[in-house]
């Protein structure tokens, strides 16, 4: 790791040796063209290798060159790029083009480049790319990062390898095809010669670059890095407190800002005690007009918080005084009519489900640091959208985007929240007013009460079964809260309208060969801001579908696993259902009060089945003991990271099944802390087992895959244990009323497992 001398100092992480930057006050990670060209001592050569849409697009940065060709061709959103540099000491620096919010892309994306470049992982240093058109679309979300970058970043690495090989072959006067690479060296076995990449890099950078589409990529059988459970490159810094998150940005003469925010939706500021706020020691400035409130700038965060307290703002909260969780529930229930089961069905099944608003509640609250110097801004932001932050800050200050440099920091969680850039725009507004360097921070109550929430929803379901237990009709109508109204049916031709506020993703259809399976979505206009939350509306749609399917299975007097296998049409899901069931021990004898449940999900290009073992005490306390996950995400680039995503999704689902919800009273959010927005703790965490199917299919998304099936699996297990069907989350004690405990008979008794199905304990690892 080499520190740069100017304010652009990047922090690089030595992936293998545990070496790390020692300057804890250094600016957060960031590289830009200038530092590439001039910054790092020992920088041997910088190659910027761009791949547009998986096809040909190459450019380079040379000591004498500027990247106009990149910018000229690199329309934002189209091009994906990688920056690779080979240092004199043989180390290789690779830029992570998008931010890491905990999903591990600073590790997994860089693995792709390193694999095809053919260097040892231990020689790799990771730097974070700044926001810039040359890196293509840098926003992260929709579990799309690995899917978008898998091929282009491999092509980028292979392109770097190709020019290094070409240079060596030229020096030796041999055919490039007679050479091979290994561990950062080019070898010509016939003559027993070899050269290190460091020896070749400078001259290689002057060679013509091959067409990205023409470079050959490794066969999966030859992968040495992809597929390994490689640990996060930031671990050493995280465990020692050196890792730099947004809040840790410390430009010189930094001042701190918090905002007094409207206490209810649509509340209007009527006045505040300016003198009292200014009298607080350390309070420096007040800025009105920040998100409908007043920003207080202080010498320290504490001074700003004390100033906000003293401000004692007065609000008109009449706009939504009649809005509460009860009125919202009524509006949602009225938003869709109850479907009826098809005529002639031997058995009709109907149900309704209700799901609440959820806050993102990232561990690191929203914050953004902006330093304004001579009309230019440097921004440190924990964000899912570096380029969105760049736009927002430029607009907020009133300067060109070219005058804004965004350095994405590590982010303390995202879950969709950091795809919004409101907090960056607020920081820009404040810095425009007061100049200098400002860190704007949301407190936890700000975060919980001013989020854009996972929408509340109401679901009405009906289906019929024939005499043999076949599903002969299926209707799922969802009313989902939105600040914009409208019927998704009208938008069937074009999904754009339905997704206008980002809350809808699940459409019709699905993995089952059941006519009508899926969802018909109607957005009900409610003035509670909503936005994407981990797995978007799959979090609601799949809960209702998979819980309802469980009801159908019982109505058909079929085992829930057998029922799914009988109705699934998605071939990649069937072995996963079998595997998750086998791993949980489906069909075994259980203590009274303990039950097993299963559910599955396909989305984001991936597939998962999850089974839960749950114990319900006689006083209605639900304990989730184990969750088994069988995952098919195509090629498993980093199994440790994939398991982590599964564990995290299970933890989220446990929290939202048992406790977490956002409610409203008189137009205001009721929850203001982790005391009232109760997330899962250590003792709540079930044992999670993850089986990853061996696959060479293209990678699917992982960040959201693990959430949508867990809550239904848990609730299906509760039904198996108690005979109580959970139809709303989070579970209330009264929803288990009548469950008299493990000694009580379960009504109705769960069907006997199908002995023919259950179950070889170990299935084919290949998942075929």
């Amino acid at each position: 790791m080499t520190a740069h001398e100017d304010s652009n100092r990047p922090i690089a992480i030595d992936a293998g040796s545990g070496a790390h930057p020692t300057d804890t006050q250094a600016a957060p990670p960031g590289i830009n063209r200038r530092t590439l060209l001039t910054g790092a001592a020992g920088l041997h050569v910088g190659l910027f290798i761009g791949v547009r849409g998986g096809a040909t697009f190459l450019a380079r940065i040379r000591p004498d060159g500027s990247p106009q060709d990149v910018l000229a061709q690199g329309a934002e959103g189209a091009m994906l790029g990688a920056y690779v540099s080979v240092r004199a000491d043989g180390g290789v620096t690779i830029a992570a083009p998008v931010p890491d919010i905990g999903q591990g892309v600073r590790t997994s994306l860089v693995m792709l480049v390193a694999e095809e470049l053919d260097v040892d992982w231990e020689s790799v240093t990771v730097e974070q790319a700044v926001a810039g058109a040359e890196f293509g679309r840098q926003s992260i979300g929709g579990s799309g990062t690995m899917r978008s970058y898998y091929t282009p970043l491999r092509q980028a690495g292979a392109t770097g390898r190709a020019v290094l090989v070409a240079e060596a072959a030229s020096r030796w006067g041999v055919e490039a095809s007679a050479c091979r690479t290994e561990s950062g060296r080019v070898l010509h076995d016939a003559s027993s010669r070899s050269l290190s990449y460091a020896e070749l890099a400078e001259a290689a950078a002057g060679r013509p670059l091959p067409n990205a589409g023409s470079v050959s990529l490794k066969s999966p059988a030859d992968f040495r890095i992809i597929g390994q459970p490689i640990h996060r490159v930031d671990n050493a810094d995280v465990v020692t407190g050196r890792a730099i998150y947004g809040m840790d940005a410390r430009p010189d003469n930094l001042r701190f800002a918090v905002v007094a925010r409207p206490p209810a939706i649509g509340a209007r500021l009527q006045g505040f005690d300016e003198a009292a706020a200014r009298a607080v020691p350390g309070v420096l400035e007040l800025v009105e007009g920040v998100s409908g409130g007043v920003a207080v700038v202080g010498e320290t965060t504490w001074a700003a918080l004390q100033g906000r307290q003293a401000l004692a703002p007065r609000w008109d909260t009449s706009a939504n005084a009649g809005l509460g969780s009860d009125t919202i529930a009524a509006d949602l229930q009225a938003g869709v009519s109850a479907p009826s089961a098809p005529d002639g069905a031997a058995t009709s099944v109907e149900a309704a489900f209700d799901l609440p608003y959820l806050a993102h509640a990232t561990m690191e609250p929203m914050n953004c640091t902006v330093e304004l110097i001579d009309g230019r801004a440097i921004v440190w932001a924990p964000t899912q959208s570096p380029q969105g932050v760049r736009r927002g800050v430029a607009r907020g200050i009133g300067i060109d985007e070219d005058a804004v440099e965004v350095r994405p920091t590590l982010a303390g969680g995202g879950f969709g929240r950091r795809a919004s850039t409101d907090y960056a725009s607020e920081a820009a507004t404040v810095v425009k007013a007061v100049g200098g360097a400002i860190q704007l921070l949301w407190t936890r109550d700000d975060d919980l009460q001013h989020d854009s929430y996972r929408p509340a929803s109401h679901h009405k379901m009906a289906a019929g079964l024939d005499d043999e237990g076949n599903v002969v009709g299926y209707t799922h109508r969802m009313a989902i809260s939105s600040t914009r109204g409208g019927d998704d049916a009208a938008a069937a031709a074009g999904r754009r309208a339905a997704r206008v506020d980002g809350t809808n993703q699940a459409g019709g259809g699905g993995p089952y060969a059941i006519a009508g399976y899926g969802v018909q979505s109607t957005r009900v206009r409610i003035p509670v801001p909503t936005f994407v939350w981990r797995s978007v509306d799959h979090s609601q749609v799949n809960f209702a579908n998979e819980a309802f399917l469980d009801m159908l299975a019982h109505a058909a007097q079929m085992d829930p696993v057998a029922f799914r296998l009988a109705n699934l049409s998605q071939a990649r899901l069937k072995p996963l259902v079998e595997r998750a069931a086998a791993d949980i021990g489906w069909g075994r004898d259980l203590e009274a009060g303990t039950g097993l449940g299963i559910a599955c999900f396909q989305g984001y290009g991936s597939y998962v089945a999850q089974a839960a073992e749950v114990t319900v005490s006689s006083d209605g306390v639900v304990r989730i003991n184990r969750v088994t996950c069988a995952v098919d995400c195509g090629v498993a680039v980093n199994p440790s990271s994939i398991r982590a995503q599964m564990e995290g999704c299970v933890a989220d689902a446990v929290a939202t099944t048992l406790r977490a919800q956002i409610t409203l009273s008189e137009g205001a959010i009721d929850q203001d802390s982790f005391g009232s927005y109760e997330w899962g703790r250590m003792a709540d965490m079930p044992h999670v087992e993850v089986h990853i199917v061996d696959s060479t299919a293209g990678p699917g998304g992982m960040g959201e895959l693990g959430y949508p099936a867990v809550s239904p699996a848990i609730c299906n297990a509760i039904f198996a244990a108690t005979g109580k069907r959970i139809t709303r989350l989070p579970i209330r004690r009264e929803d288990l009323a009548g469950w008299a405990g493990p000694d009580a008979p379960v009504d109705p008794p769960p069907p006997e497992p199908d002995a023919r199905l259950f179950m070889p304990r170990v299935l084919n690892e290949a998942g075929s």
Partner: protein
């Protein structure tokens, strides 16, 4: 403003600040020790956990005046070279996802291992109950604590 003197990571430090200022903000904004994180400000999440005279406590609800003359230890001072058994175990189990809560998790776990030679699942559940992880790394945290405990056990 009064001057408040205490030790941070074995170094004597003085800050001129309101005695009601939470230790968290003194560490972060006055002393430049940003390894201790802000998560809630109400003592509900544990992200800001430090040791005061060897006991783990949330620095966001610990007033500066209460640490005068005391020994404060932050994640930056847990070990000289980042090699405390817990710091190594955390890396060996690839615990962090976003990583933001982990300094607080480690400081709580370190206080636990300092005070007790034997820990089990139930004790970990109890001792770690004040530390929230929004990414859901609990299973790996548990494994890392058990591994480190096995190493330090006399």
């Amino acid at each position: 403003m009064p001057t408040i003197a205490f030790h941070v990571n074995d170094e004597p430090r003085e800050v001129d600040a309101d005695g009601a200022m939470p230790l968290l903000w003194a560490l972060r904004d006055l002393l430049g020790l940003t390894g201790t994180k802000f998560g809630c400000g109400t003592g509900d999440c544990g992200a800001c956990t430090v040791h005061v005279d060897g006991r783990a406590q949330p620095s966001c609800v610990t007033e500066l005046s209460r640490v005068a003359g005391k020994q404060v230890r932050t994640i930056e001072g847990l070990s000289a070279n980042g090699d405390h058994p817990l710091q190594r175990a955390w890396q060996e189990h690839d615990v962090p996802q976003c990583g933001y809560c982990q300094a607080g998790q480690i400081m709580t776990a370190a206080a636990l291992l300092d005070s007790e030679a034997e820990v089990d699942d139930a004790r970990i559940d109890q001792a770690m109950s004040g530390n929230l992880c929004r990414c859901g790394t609990y299973q790996r945290i548990r494994a890392a604590i058990l591994a480190a405990a096995a190493e330090v056990r006399p």
